[in-house]
Symmetry: C2
Subunit: 344 residues, 2 copies
């Protein structure tokens, strides 16, 4: 289990893949009704189940959320390792993370268990296989809430059935700029696929990144869910690729102008807001995909996108910074990270 | 007579100095009433007068405007060697230019003779001395229209008297950005000093450059005119310097951010309009003056400001370019000119 395995193709458009399974324990009430004592018992039971696999045990960290400071918690949200709701909750919570962070298990979020497997690029099947292995391991020891008719029982009925949310994060600058996103979202919705900005429901697209995921968990097997998502993802990728080619063919100068200006600003600004940095990094990503920008790979760019978040900056800096100092820190971080790497 | 002599101090704020004398010949009607034959005679007489000084003769070019193509004429306007009105006129016109271009004499503009001496930086007295020498040379041979009471007679009464317009071109980014320009223009107006954008009356300030000149030509000697202009110029320079120091002390990060972003854009854009280039070059000039930008001197920057004009680009390119191609050419010219020179 190394992070290298959790890497797929199509990184010019597919930033990352995520498989999430929602599970609950039969012999405990749902999270909202759970006492602190029950929560602690349940956490211990889940720890024990996971530790039965010695190989897995050696790469997992078991973290009580109350042991973490707020900044670290917020930085985990920015890295998509935990949900904003989980970060805010005052219940007894625990987090299990693999060393390479491709596995993240939230204990006592909305459901007792929210198991996530993440990879870079398009790797839905790899992530699903890994999630299924972890699910089986939990199932060996724990009594998971399951109903023959409804499948896995979850706190929210929208997760009933497989409890599976499969998602890919796509970089869709040309679909965004050509105003094709609204139509794409509507079309995807008709076949049960949700398209959202990168921080989940209700959020706007940042850095021209979109999360594409299944809406339905009932009536489809895990494999079917992943196949359907893969199908629509391939279609969206094709559309984005067509628009990129068209832009390069029809307006190459304007395209290059924007990419090179953005790369220059990232390497030279002294003050930069998170939202400006996200927009410029989107241009940089597009520039890499079209061969205009060299010297930096997508994985470094992905890390950068997390590193520029306010909480991640505070963690790196050792303490919270006032907004202006944070914008200076961000500009300096980007200058230092990119200047040595980028070559035209 | 070399261009090096026509260079003064204060180049961090004073881009250039110009002395202009308006003169008319007594024995010819004013330009609007002049026949083509008379104009040709007059041009010949002026040529002859100037050629009496052998040292001067060897550095002057005598150019019939009808021998020049429109692009070259327009490029001379962009370089401030001739006025837009002179370029547009259909009369018999001639231009006398020194090789180093610090002397420009328009023959048959609004007045028979518009004699200009230009220098970089603040060098009002040097330019005036040179203009007076040229005027004396003309006066030796020609019958200049002069009245004991009104002084030199000119086509427009606003030039009656000395016929002198002394002007300095100042770079006033901080006065502009702090909205102090309107007050400055009003204050200067009260004491007979006009402040205009760089292409003369009615034009808006480009590149945050302003032309400061005397409004009155009656009631003051040439020396008094220049002294008054020098006095107000020194005051404006002080105001601009105070604001620059204040900006660096109070908002250094924002100041540096803007300068470095502009320098980066100038070195990396692929398409650039003249007006964007002028704005960015203004930041670059400010950056040089504050020691943030090194490797390029003010004189190179001044040339660049002329070189990016549409007509100058067409002349360099060998033919007129459509607007988009011109914007590409401009971006490439700036990239090439600056990249090799700039160091942080």
């Amino acid at each position: 289990m190394s992070v290298a395995e959790f890497s797929g193709d199509g990184k010019d458009i597919v930033v990352s893949t995520r498989i999430r399974l929602a599970r609950n324990l039969k012999n405990y009430p749902f999270a909202t009704k759970l006492s602190a004592k029950q929560a602690r018992e349940m956490i211990a039971a889940i720890y024990e189940a996971l530790q039965k696999n010695p190989a897995l045990k050696s790469v997992l960290s078991f973290i009580k959320l109350s042991d973490l400071d707020d900044l670290t918690i917020q930085s985990f949200v920015e890295q998509h390792l935990i949900s904003p709701e989980f970060a805010k909750s005052t219940a007894e919570r625990s987090l299990v993370l693999s060393n390479d962070r491709h596995i993240s298990i939230m204990i006592n979020e909305e459901d007792h268990i929210r198991l996530q497997v993440m990879g870079t690029g398009l790797c839905l099947n790899k992530c699903l296989d890994e999630a299924v292995k972890l699910d089986l391991l939990l199932d060996e020891t724990l009594m998971l809430a399951f109903n023959e008719e409804l499948g896995y029982l979850t706190h929210c009925p929208t997760n009933l059935g497989t409890g599976l949310r499969a998602s890919v994060m796509l970089h869709l600058p040309m679909l965004t700029r050509c105003n094709e996103i609204t139509k794409m979202i509507a079309d995807a919705g008709k076949i049960g696929i949700a398209v959202r900005g990168i921080y989940g429901e209700g959020s706007v697209a940042r850095s021209e990144l979109y999360q594409i995921s299944n809406q339905f968990t009932l009536g489809f097997s895990e494999q079917e869910t992943v196949e359907r998502l893969k199908g629509i993802t391939d279609q969206i990728i094709s559309q984005e690729q067509i628009l990129r080619k068209a832009a390069l063919a029809q307006a190459r100068d304007e395209f290059e102008d924007r990419v090179y200006r953005s790369a220059a600003t990232l390497q030279n600004a002294r003050i930069m807001s998170a939202s400006e940095a996200e927009n410029l990094l989107s241009d940089l990503r597009l520039g890499i995909s079209c061969g205009l920008i060299n010297g930096i790979d997508y994985d470094s760019l992905n890390s950068m996108l997390y590193d520029i978040g306010p909480a991640n900056i505070a963690v790196k800096n050792g303490s919270t910074l006032p907004p202006k100092e944070r914008d200076k820190y961000r500009a300096e971080y980007l200058r230092n990270s990119l200047r040595s790497k980028l070559k035209e």
